[in-house]
Amino acid sequence: MGKKGVLYFGIIILVILIGGVLWLNNDVSQKQQEGAGGIANTSKKIVELSDDNPTFDEWGKNFPDHLDMYLTVEKQEPIPTEFGGNLAYSKLIRYPQLTILWAGYPFSLDANEERGHFWIQVDQMDTARNNKDFLNAHGFAAFAGQPTACMNCHSGWTPWLLKNVAKNDWVAFNSTKYWTMIKNVPAMNGMKEGSVEHSGPHGGKRMGVTCADCHVPNTMELRLTRPGLINALVKFRGYEPDDTIGVKASREEMRTLVCSQCHVEYYFRPTGGKTKIMGESIAKDSSKKWWNGTQKTYDEFDTWRDGNSPTEIEVDGIELVFPWGEWKKGQPFRIEMFDDYYDKARSVFDKDWAHKITGAPMIKIQHPESELFSGGVHAANGVSCADCHMPYIRKGSKKLTQHNVTSPLQNINAACKTCHTQSEEYLKSQIRDIQNSVAYDLRSAEYSIVSLITDIKNLREALGGLEQYQTDGKADAAKINAELKDVLELHRKSQMRADFVGAENSTGFHNPREASRMLLQAVDMARMGQAKLVEIASANGIKDFKTSNLGFEDIQKFNPGEIHYKVDLNGHKAGDRYYEHDNVNGNPPAKFLEDDKNLNPYNYTYVDKK
């Protein structure tokens, strides 16, 4: 190679090097800009946000990264964790004891693992518990179908509907039928009324939780939008109301309170009065009948169709209330507060349902994360829900709050290691140990309550054969209930405790000590109930009465399997699978059943090996 060749070579190298340095310079500048706050792209148009359009598709125009995070769960393969995750398998198949514990209540027919905020409204529309005709045809005709009160947490449209359809009448909003209210979700973002998109989850009728539920449109400040929580905080817990953010609270508190809008125990309290609400004209069309031949009062569909139109009707009013009357500000929550509250409320609300086997007046606990967390070590140290479930993460060189709200197990580094400096493996094993321990306690409680239920059933039959518990030669439920009163109370209260930990989405992790304490009580009460049954049997001269002690293998016999149609219904044939989504209501991963089998009785050689 001559001199010329060397020069050519040198020039090529220099051009490449210059290109490389220019790229590097660009990269440095870009990252500096990103790090400065993330608003690098100044050419982007900022959309004006307001409560008139609460859809995340609209809000996401200004916050594309946050929208991306929120929508992760839409396309991602569901991820099951040992005691949670977002694979929507049937909880009744994994824990068949629930079909006995919830006997006579629609949850015993259909209860799946949750799929996250994006799917929450889709899942409510799909669940058999919200399908009046399916309930009619499958032994639950007594249930009237869900009210809008159920929709409070499931839809990002709730504040809009409350303001524009219910005209800010909170009781009227709650008392309206779910399927009537959902018909009023407006078509936004260029959607056509009644189109497929309008029925979809992206800003349509199936849209779940959204940005506007927790953020003020123009400032992005945290706020409360759900009257259920605001009322509970103001009436019961000594907070002052605030026009912009719901109640006067610090940002730190708000990072927990926005979650408490929904992650709580609640009930539908009858107001005792009548209220005017929106009804449907189909109620006057005598050709429209439910499967069991009774008159349809609403169309179980998400749009107005076939001439069906809104009418005004009068019904008994209900109100969504959090049972926090005994839980004061600054106190840790205790399960006894629910006992006291629900005892005081008995004259207006005595039960969620009467247990089908025992006749006990039952309370179904929902998802009391706020209550359990309040007394735990994390709360005591000022940690908020968002700190673990929405940890700060890095995207490129931007720092963001994780908006794909999920189990902290999905990112232990971001969620736990901000405070805990141990290795991820160590932290994970601590969490697993706590959850296994609480799950053992929970299974012990559930098995002992199912044993109690079995024994109550047997004694009810035995008592029914005695003359003094009969009317006109037949067993008299009221007389038997009176004799079993104390035992039925023990059933109610012990199951309330097991239900509390079972419905709470952390398998005790949010406050392991309190979870264990209430489960110990639950076992104590269930076994005490069995002891009382023996006394009652003996007092009534029933000689062959024995108590039972059911375990994992006995319980597996109650496995109900996936939900299928039992009759031809609404275009489906008997035997058809109820759910259209394949990964909803299926079998849990086989490994979990193996884990459960080894957890109670506690097989340490298996559990501690993992």
């Binding site: 001199k3 010329k4 020069l7 050519y8 040198g10 020039i11 220099l14 051009v15 090097l17 210059i18 340095v21 220019l22 590097l24 310079n25 990269d27 440095v28 500048s29 990252k31 790090g35 400065a36 940890p391 700060y392 993460i393 890095r394 995207k395 490129g396 060189s397 720092k399 990112n411 580094n413 971001a414 290691k417 901000t418 405070c419 400096t421």
Partner: protein
């Protein structure tokens, strides 16, 4: 003659490109605040926002307290060796490592960072370097490093530098 002028044209292009290379090179170095890395200032460690939390923690912790206008200890006083040659070797090593990670690996970096074994040793040595008088009478801290799971100064005094990040 023709060949000579062709060659000299090429040479001019080469020289111009060489000048451009140095110009953009220096500009990039300037843009990336390159000179700051030659100093001992703690602010330069915070050029990367990755260090924001740790830097804020440091400002709230006792070592950043200024005496006669100088902090008791800067980042490098704890995180780099004090011997001249070792210091610059360590500085170059981590500098290249950080630049590479920040340019190409940013999306896979964990949110919360862990100190490497090497880094932990440097920090421990530096604790003792300043506090040996006290450490010598308090515990036998210097003579016997006791295996992998032994305690270090920061095992107990975890927030003197910054709370997060080890």
């Amino acid at each position: 003659m023709e060949q000579k002028s062709g060659s000299s044209n090429l040479l001019s292009i080469f020289l111009i490109l060489l000048f451009v290379f140095f110009a953009v090179g220096f500009y990039t170095f300037y843009n990336a605040k390159g000179t700051s890395y030659l100093s001992n200032a703690s602010e330069s460690c915070n050029n990367c926002h990755v260090m924001n939390e740790v830097y804020n923690d440091y400002l709230a912790a006792p070592h950043s307290k200024k005496i006669d206008g100088k902090p008791r200890a800067s980042c490098v006083e704890c995180h780099l060796p004090h011997d001249f040659v070792d210091k610059w070797i360590a500085k170059a090593e981590s500098g290249i490592g950080h630049a590479y990670a920040f340019t190409f690996k940013l999306d896979t970096l964990p949110t919360n960072l862990d100190a490497t074994e090497k880094s932990k040793k440097m920090v421990q040595t530096n604790c003792i370097r300043c506090h040996s008088d006290y450490a010598a009478v308090a515990i036998n801290a210097t003579s016997k490093p006791h295996g992998e799971s032994s305690l270090s100064c920061v095992s107990c005094h975890s927030s003197v530098g910054h709370k997060r990040g080890f």
